[in-house]
């Protein structure tokens, strides 16, 4: 079985993270922004899993940690979507640039 080098995992994680970051910072639709954040979290997960196998001291901790991240991400998305829906009810819009309540 040919092995995939660790660099490939890391490159994938990096690309995913960058796409996620780009999406989170530029998209107007809040749903897309939330999805982009998921992408970034998943890029992190890939890193954690990769290092748990190919790290200097390989251990199962990284994979366990990934499970935690997935759980927390799921909770975060649930809360995020809930906030988004209540915002939508108030503003009739999901455009993120219309949400500048932090300024006040």
């Amino acid at each position: 079985m040919s092995t995939v080098p660790v660099q490939a995992y890391l490159a994938l994680a990096l690309i995913l993270f960058c796409i996620g970051l780009y999406g989170a910072l530029t998209k107007r639709n809040t749903v897309i922004v939330l999805i982009s954040i998921e992408l970034m979290l998943n890029a992190v997960n890939i890193n954690l899993v990769a290092f748990s196998k190919y790290g200097i001291t390989p251990s199962i901790t990284g994979q366990i940690f990934t499970l935690f991240v997935i759980a927390v991400a799921a909770a975060e998305v649930a809360v995020g979507i809930a906030i988004l829906i209540s915002l939508y009810r108030n503003k009739k819009s999901v455009n993120i640039d219309e949400m500048d309540a932090m300024k006040h």
Binding site: L21, A24, L25, T26, I96, D100, K103
Partner: protein, 622 residues
């Protein structure tokens, strides 16, 4: 009495304070306060003067400041000159206070006027009892302030505003000289005290050049205050003030301060022949210069103003010719007849409501009191025998002759001729001839105005007899008594001087009578032949124009240059500093727009920068 002479200036000060506080409520009753307080000053001054005849000079001082081992003192001194000045100032001030009650009646700012008069009188009285230069300087500036307030009393008139500023600035130019001279004297003599300065001068502790320099610098201050050429231009403009103020300024207070200063520091001046010569030349030049302008002026007060400048020139000439007594004597007689002339002029203006003498005429029959009194003043200033001005002018001429200033002596004689001519030109144009039709409602002034004039009229006649070559020179002997530095009480002069002086003044009067009284000589005879010199005289030798062309434009040029520097250099620097700060602030506030994505971007950029720094430095900033 002399121990308490310090109280004399305090009366007008009290009047000033009282009227400033309660004047609004008192309204026209303020006059009684002012009159009462100045009367107190006058009575006390007279008592002090009488006291001084028999007692020696009284001087009291206390330490005011101690700086290192130098002690600055403050106090008062009653010597002959001071006692005499106290009486002159408080007398004229009292009469002016009284006169103003009639003249200023109905003015909205009546109490303020009396308050200012009090301040002005206080300043002048304080000035004449100061025992040292520093104190003199304080009061000197206070006098300047008082004149500024009073000349600008009708501040809603543009001319009055400008005249007040002009008076303040012109005298300030002189004050700079006085201040520098004072500091130099202090540096040389180690004291501001008159006595110690004179002692140092006498002991030869100050070099001759230094004496000359300080004396001339101090004289510059007197030039400014006493309206001598070339700083005389403020004095005629000061006519914009109410007429009683003109009387006060021209007779006893403001302009007398300059002459007083030179007289008070006379031993210093006497130690330097150059300084004396400077004073004499400036005095004589001013005397004839101002008299020639007075020949053609059309404003009654302006003619009197130029005659004041001219007479002050006489006093300076006397002092510069070592005629201490003559100068002080003329200061005294001039105070009386000039105050009389101004008050009478005020009475005329009060009656006819114009100052242009070409619009007057035939007032002799209508102003039965003012007319004769004006005539007395005119005779006195013209130097007609038996009037006070005759004796004092004679003293001055003798002093100038005896000192060897032959050229200046003849200048003074010509100036005396001019004086007689223009004063009688004024008199005939105002009082003689046909009454103008539009002057039907001319009334004599109320007695509160005529009474002070009567007092001054009497003094203008008899004041000369305190110091005559015929009956004895009481004033002169008393003034220089036990003080050899002041020269002789009386200077013997050839008898023909008196005859010449009488002749020129009578000639001037005769000529004025021919031209303006009898009118057998056409008024235009001279002016039409010499239009150029007439214009030059009428425009006061274009001195004002010359100043505005040179000094004012020069100052404007410098100011515009500095403004250029200010706008482009200083302001540019300041603006760039504030610009950077405000640009940073604007950027910061733009980032705080409430958009989560902007915040995220900023955070990311910051992280990226930190990573870059980390990459280059390996984690540590050195």
């Amino acid at each position: 009495m002399m121990e308490n002479a310090w109280i004399i200036p305090l009366f007008p000060l009290l009047s000033f304070l009282f009227l400033i506080l309660f004047g609004k409520r008192l309204k026209e009753a303020s006059a009684y306060i002012g009159i009462l307080f100045t009367l107190a000053s006058l009575v006390y001054s007279l008592l002090v003067l009488v006291d001084r005849f028999s007692a020696p000079t009284y001087k009291a001082e206390g330490v005011w400041l101690t700086i290192g081992d130098v002690q600055l003192t403050a106090g008062f001194e009653v010597n002959q000159l001071n006692a005499l000045m106290l009486v002159i100032v408080s007398l004229v001030s009292f009469l002016v206070h009284m006169y103003s009650k009639g003249y200023m009646q109905g003015d909205d700012r009546f109490p303020v006027f009396y308050a200012y008069l009090g301040l002005f009188t206080f300043a002048m009285l304080g000035l004449v009892i100061s025992p040292n230069l520093l104190q003199t300087y304080f009061f000197w500036e206070l006098v300047g302030l008082g004149s500024f307030l009073l000349i600008g009393f009708y501040f809603y008139k543009e001319e009055a505003k400008a005249a007040a500023k002009k008076a303040f600035i012109m005298t300030r130019i002189g004050d700079v000289g006085l201040l520098i001279g004072m500091i130099l004297l202090f540096w040389q003599a180690g004291s501001f005290e008159y006595d110690e300065i004179f002692a140092a001068v006498e002991a030869g502790a100050i070099s001759g050049t230094m004496i000359t320099l300080t004396a001339i610098l101090i004289f510059v201050g007197a030039v400014g205050k006493s309206g001598q050429f070339p700083l005389h231009t403020w004095l005629p403009d000061a006519m914009e003030g109410p007429t009683p103020v003109s009387a006060l300024i021209h007779a006893a207070t403001m302009v007398a301060a300059g002459v007083y200063l030179v007289a008070a520091l006379f031993p210093l001046f006497a130690a330097s022949e150059t300084a004396l010569m400077t004073i004499a030349v400036i005095g004589a030049f001013t005397a004839i210069f101002a008299a020639s302008i007075g020949l053609v002026q059309k404003d009654i007060k302006r003619v009197l103003a130029y005659s004041t400048v001219s007479q002050l020139g006489y006093m300076m000439l006397a002092l510069g010719s070592a005629g201490y007594v003559a100068g002080v004597f003329h200061l005294m007689t001039h105070a009386f007849f000039k105050a009389l002339l101004f008050l009478a002029a005020g009475s005329v203006i009060h009656a006819v409501h114009t100052q242009n003498i070409e619009h007057m005429g035939g007032l002799w029959k209508k102003l039965r009191v003012t007319g004769p009194l004006f005539l007395i003043g005119t005779l006195a200033i013209s130097g007609v025998p038996l009037f006070s001005g005759f004796f004092s002018k004679d003293e001055i001429l003798i002093a100038a002759w005896a000192h060897g200033n032959t050229a200046l002596f003849w200048l003074a004689v010509i100036a005396a001729f001019f004086t007689a001519f223009y004063m009688f030109r004024l008199f005939f144009m105002v009082f003689a001839g046909e009454a103008r039709s539009d002057m039907k409602n001319v009334h004599e002034s109320p007695s509160v105005m005529t009474l002070p004039m009567v007092v001054l009229g009497v003094l203008a006649v008899v004041a000369g007899y305190v110091n005559t070559p015929w009956f004895g020179t009481f004033l002169g002997d008393w003034l220089v008594e036990d003080n050899h530095a002041l020269g002789h009480g009386h200077i013997e002069g050839p008898a023909w001087i008196m005859i010449v002086a009488t002749a020129v003044s009578l000639l001037g009067i005769f000529l004025a009578w021919l031209m303006y009284g009898k009118r057998s000589l056409s008024r235009d005879w001279l002016t039409s032949r010499m239009p150029l010199s007439y214009n030059v005289l009428y425009n006061k030798y274009y001195i004002d124009e010359f100043y505005s062309l040179t000094v004012v434009n020069g100052a404007k040029f410098i100011s515009s240059f500095l403004r250029f520097l200010e706008v482009f250099l200083v302001e540019g620097l300041v603006k760039s500093v504030t610009g950077v700060a405000s640009a940073l602030g604007k950027l910061g506030s733009k980032i705080h727009n409430g958009q989560i994505q902007t915040y995220g971007t900023v955070a990311f950029v910051g992280l990226a920068i930190l990573v870059v720094i980390y990459a280059f430095t390996g984690g540590y900033l050195k």
